[in-house]
């Protein structure tokens, strides 16, 4: 039996592994895709203490190497279930089952989709969920950004420097994101606000050619764009574990300040946890707290 199984090898999960190993607990980290989580999409991290500039890839690789060198075992398997047997928890993957004394869920979150027909088919053919990743493909082209939070605003601002024209489509008339970013967008000649409206259809040949937009009164218009950046929030990856943890209405995992869930021995850390601030440094902090609490739980 392993002392601690960590689900997810992003900054929260890998930090938890580091802390657990330094407390001499055996650790298996299960990762569905690739270590690092969503930070690998970031070309340049500028807000992590001590690292004024580091790429997301390098940052992720460094934590991964650190966790491995301390003896954490990292397996690329997707956890689909946790069975709670009291002192023994069993984490189930497609291939294996892992018994553990404690489990830390650090699964992060995924992009929320618009849910339109052909959205998946057109992803990579005009539809994107990451402006800093894919923006360069739309130099001097017309694009739209859907969403009203900080990510949407920042995506629109980023694209305003690259694209010929940026439409910012938001279903309300006020933005959730920061006012200063809204003001900067208003000062750009090539940015148009399309408010009280939502994207209702994607029109494409081999690639996206236009989008249909419907306003709150039901009026339909068409925008000729070759790119659509979807920034309508994220979906926490807690669905597989909802029998053991409480989720809020948005699907985030409820926990105490020390990352404990309602199931003794099951902890949460990182972006899938209900909290106010989701940053690299808070993900790492969650990992440290959850691992310390898991160690305490095992030793008690």
């Amino acid at each position: 039996m392993t002392d601690i199984v960590v689900i997810g090898a992003g900054p929260a999960g890998l930090t938890a592994a580091i802390y657990a190993r330094r407390a001499s607990k055996s650790v298996i980290v299960l990762e569905a895709l690739s270590y690092g989580g969503q930070i690998i999409n970031t070309p340049d991290i500028e807000n992590y203490p001590s690292a004024a500039h580091i790429s997301g890839f390098d940052f992720a690789t460094k934590i991964y190497e650190q966790a491995k060198s301390l003896g954490a075992e990292i397996k690329f398997e997707k956890a689909v279930e946790i069975r709670d047997g009291g002192d023994v928890k069993t984490v189930v993957t497609a291939k294996n089952e892992y018994d553990a004394k404690a489990v830390i869920i650090a699964t992060g979150s995924a992009n929320r989709k618009l849910g339109l027909p052909d959205e998946d088919k057109l992803t990579g053919r005009g539809v994107s969920y990451c402006a800093t990743c894919d923006g360069a493909f739309f130099r001097n082209k017309k694009v739209a950004v859907a969403g009203g939070g900080n990510t949407a605003l920042e995506d629109a601002l980023y694209m305003a420097d690259i694209a010929e024209k940026v439409y910012l489509i938001h279903r309300r008339d006020a933005f959730r994101g920061e006012d200063t970013t809204v003001e900067r967008l208003k000062s750009r000649d090539n940015v148009s606000f399309v408010l009280n409206s939502r994207v209702t259809k994607l029109n494409a040949g081999r690639r996206l050619e236009s989008i249909e937009v419907t306003d709150k009164d039901g009026k339909v218009s068409t925008l000729e764009v070759s790119g659509l950046f979807v920034a309508v929030g994220r979906v926490p990856e807690n669905q597989n574990f909802s029998s053991l943890i409480d989720l809020d209405e948005a699907g985030y995992a409820a926990s105490s300040e020390n990352c404990r869930t309602r199931t003794p021995g099951v902890f949460v850390a990182g972006d899938n946890r209900a909290k106010e601030v989701r940053q690299l440094v808070t993900a790492a902090a969650d990992g440290a707290v959850a691992a310390t609490e898991a160690v305490k739980y095992i030793n008690s």
Binding site: G124, R125, G126
Partner: protein
Amino acid sequence: MAVKNVTVDNFNEEVLQVKLPVLADFYADWCGPCRMLRPALEQISEERTDVIVAAVNIDENPELADDYDISSIPCVILFKDGAEVDRSIGLVPKEALEALLG
């Protein structure tokens, strides 16, 4: 066999005109998910003799990215007999790339 770097100048000979299926990885150096995906492609190129793995740097060969309507990377396209058969976009597990090959 290692991953073969292909450019717009030799794309015809190295991808479209070869007999074996070709997995072509469209990537850029600045793209983190592309760097994450590369080890899986290298493993496939070492493990399998029935497929050629090629890499196309989209910054140096934007014409090729445009020809194949690529707007997100990594984008791995499976070519057979000179034509696209299937593609995979974004960071995916190695098994998903193997599934492309059938």
